[in-house]
Structure formats: structure tokens, C-alpha cells
Symmetry: D2
């Protein structure tokens, strides 16, 4: 069975040695992540994971995690995956994203992951996946494709 | 200057006289909307508006409303726009949506609106817009295109 | 019934008086449009229409116009809608687009229209619609949302 | 470096032993593929590849393969990837797709691949990639995310 070429992300080269600190500081400033109870789970060059515990406060009408909350954590995961590769004096902006919802989001933990597919000087293309974990089982609940913009000369405050 | 044909939405015919009550009851069950401080602002056949007051608890790292929070309110607005046209014994599911972010979301009030473009027996296609209002000025901050699924025989609990 | 704010596109201001000639010359260089039998039907500031006659050479397996052919004409219509507003020494690039297929594309004529929603210095956001015309009846067959890039300093050859 | 879980597609189980013949027969009926000069390159359960030789007849204004032509081959590749898993008395319909263009499409050969991510009874979610091959080098030129519908009881003619 053929494999997607994007299966094995390339080894990305960072432009600024403080990439991990910059991502952590920026994430900490996102009030929305705190309100939703989302936590930064992992950050590597071209990669970021954000986790969330499903609970009624982030649910839609059937008790599953709301599609918009899934969007929020995977948009941030994608944005910070890209941000790891940006230069020091820049910030990151989501131009657009597209999200497919594949299965009800429930269980012990949601993990949203962003994977840079193509970094660029101005735009950066990212893929995202959200998995629900429950009693040792992992289910893909959402799939994302995202465009980021590198805001040169506009570092985070 | 030509106008989009979708500019004037058709006069939709509802399938169930309790559509407004069903939307209100379903919205009230969305814990995520309460957590974000979103309120149901209007509901009409094929249309729904949800409002949100920008504040640090729903912000991203620069203080603007987080793209995922924008996604959450416009996904719900779109979903309920569609739901007004669904039969009584059904519920609504977001299959996918695509969101473009056009301007920083800030000001006194955000209004997310969903407009049904094409209702169908199984799928329903919806457009969404999010505007920021500030001192009498209205700015388009996001544009959405969404696919809903009609879940026949599976009414909300 | 509320109307989308994007219903009435603003009166756009062009940056270069030769916008119509530039679009026509660029369209004429698109070999793919000639191969598909697509014709430039109208161009105005922030707007472009491209038409196509449905026939077996552009069909999918059931005889309707192929989704990819619909994508081709509405991507070009959107791109040239944006291009009318770009400066003289620039060219246009599609960053991404999203297309919903709403009904079988058949009949006497397809018309793909692009409407600029938000022009910008680097990016330009466009909406697209494709209608099928048949015996005086018009059916919306596809809906698009698109991001263009302004390639400054890189005019068409 | 973490890998996307969708990197290794599952071993899909087909519902109908004639899946390969059905795909080939359906592809042969797509007049648009013949007009564009696209060829079926490979088909496996949950996977399909379509190839195209870049040439002026499928180009946009700068001589690269038109985004809409890229859309056409990757939409077909995705659709047939899904179709391999559909039951015998069904056909396939593209509900929507989203395409990011990553690099100019040029070279000796374009290969569009569709990979099923999640098959379902009614909907099927597919990822797509398009690579350009030139003198032994492979460049990712486009990335797609697609929703298909299973049309039960409506086999191809």
C-alpha cells in the first residue's frame, strides 16, 4: 500500500534558537486556551501538540466536544507548529483553515497535533489531526489543512 | 456591479413548526457556548446569529478573539441555521467547514451569522460571516463555508 | 430575512487603468481554458465571469461536468476578479480554494463568477459561484471560497 | 519527530471484488480526463494515482499546470480511492474538496494521489497529494482534503 509522502515530515531547521520558549510564552498569552482548559503537550521543530480533557464545559448539544473547540485546539497546534520555524522578530497569523469532523470527540483526552508540510518565507502550510484517547484506544476525530502567514517585524508583545 | 446570486437567500420553508424552540433548547445544551460567553442573538428559517463580547478570556496571543473561538460561534450559527429547516426527529452534525480570517477580531461585539445556501435531505450547505462591531462601525472578520449532515431519526436528547 | 453583508460587494477602486486588458491578455495565455473550451464572459473591478458549454469532453463518469473542470473555471474567475484590483507590475497566484458541489452541472451553459470579498496588499479573499443555465432556469451548482496572493514585482510575461 | 497517524493508511477491506475493474471502467467514461491527457496510474484498496504530462494545453498564464487541472486530477484520484471501497451497486460523488497549492506545477510528470482516511457508510474522507517529478526530483505541489458521498443503489451506467 503506497504511503503519503507527507507521512514522514522532513527534519526542519529552526531560524531562531529560542523557538520553544517563544511558543510556550505565546501559548500562555492565549486566554482562550486557558478558558477551554487546553494545555501545551509537546513542541518540536515543525510540530506542536495541544491536549484537552473532554467535559460538559466544552461540549456541544450531544455531550461530545464542540467542533469549534476542536477547531480552536488544532488551529493553535498548527499555528505553533509553524511558529517554531519562524524568525525571532515575527509572529504567526492563521490565514484560513479547513476542518473535517470524522467521529464524535469524547473520551479521556483529546490531542490536537499540527505538522508543518511546507514552511515558506511568507506562508506556511500545515496539516492537523485530532485524536480522542479512551481506555488505551485512539480514534481520529478531526483532520485539518491550514495556511499560516509569517508576520515579519511584528514579534509578540 | 454584478451581485452574487446567494446574496438574496430564498424564503425557506420549515419542516417542523417548533424549529425556533428546538434551536433554543439545543443551543442551551451547548456547554461550550456558555463557557465562551456566546449568546443566541437571532434565529429565522435558514438563518441564525450568535454574538460574543471580545475579552481576554477568548483571546489569542495578541489580544484579538482567537480564530478557534470565531470558528466555534460561526460553526454553531451555521449549524443552527440549517437545523431550523430539519425535520422534527433529526439532529444536526457538522461534516466540515472552512474558515478564512480577514481582519483582527476586536471591538464591542462579534456577530456570527449562518445562511443556508442549499438545504437537502441528507446534506445542507451553509455560508457564514462574522462581523466585529465597534463604535458604530462593522468589519467583516471571517468568512465560512460549511457542510452539515441531517441525522434523521436521531433527535436531540 | 437577514441578508449576508457580502451580498452587495463594495465599489472597488482599481490600482491600474489597464486592468481589463491585463485580465484579457492573461486569460488568453491560459492554455487550460482553451482546452476546456472556457470563455471570458465578463470582467469588472473585483468581478469576473467565465462560461463553459457542458459537453462529453469535460464530463465525469455520469455525463455531468467534472468537479475539477468546475474548479478550473471558478478558480480562474476568482483569480481574475482579484487581478482586476492588483497593481500593474504584479501577477496573481491561487494560494488555496475550497469548493462545494451542490447539484449536477449540466444544461446549456455554465457560468463561473468570482467576487472579491476583501482585497489586500498581499492576500485577496474571493467568493465564487457556478450556475448552470438550462431553458431559462438557473441552478447554483458550486460554491467556492479562495485565497489569492499578490505577486508584487512579477508581472505576467 | 512525531509522525501523523494518517501516515500509515490502514489495510482497507473492499466490499466488492470487482473494485479495480469498476474504477477503470468509470475512469474511462470521464471525458474530462481524456481531454486533459490524464491517465490512471495505479489503483489499490483505498488508494488511486492519476498522472499527467505538463504541457501548454493544461497551463495557466505563467506556463505551469493550471490549479484547476491539478484540482481535476486530484479530485478524480481521491474519488476513485474512495470508490474502491464502495459496494457494487453504488457510485461516488464529490461533496467538496479543499486544495492548497504549494509550488509551481511543472516538470516531466505530475502524479496525483488519493488516500482514504476514513471510509463510512454515507461519507468517505480522503486526503490527496500532487507531486511534480523532474529529473529524478519529486516536489509536493498540492495538498487536498476531500469529502465523498456514497450513492447507494445508483451504480454507474
Amino acid at each position: 500500500m503506497p504511503q503519503p509522502a507527507t507521512a514522514t515530515p522532513p527534519a526542519f531547521v529552526t531560524a531562531d534558537p529560542t523557538w520553544a520558549d517563544r511558543v510556550r510564552a505565546s501559548f500562555a498569552r492565549q486566554g482562550a486556551m486557558a478558558t477551554l482548559g487546553a494545555r501545551l503537550a509537546a513542541v518540536e521543530p515543525g510540530y506542536c501538540a495541544i491536549e484537552l480533557t473532554p467535559r460538559p464545559e466544552v461540549a456541544q448539544q450531544h455531550g461530545y466536544v464542540h467542533a469549534g473547540v476542536i477547531a480552536a485546539i488544532v488551529d493553535s497546534a498548527g499555528g505553533y507548529a509553524g511558529f517554531t520555524l519562524f524568525p525571532a522578530d515575527s509572529s504567526v497569523l492563521s490565514v484560513e483553515f479547513k476542518l473535517n469532523l470524522l467521529a464524535p470527540a469524547q473520551g479521556e483526552r483529546l490531542v490536537a497535533e499540527g505538522f508543518v508540510v511546507k514552511p515558506g518565507r511568507r506562508l506556511c502550510i500545515v496539516r492537523g489531526e485530532v485524536h480522542a484517547e479512551d481506555r488505551g484506544r485512539r480514534t481520529l476525530v478531526a483532520l485539518m489543512q491550514q495556511t499560516l502567514m509569517v508576520m515579519h517585524g511584528q514579534p509578540d508583545p
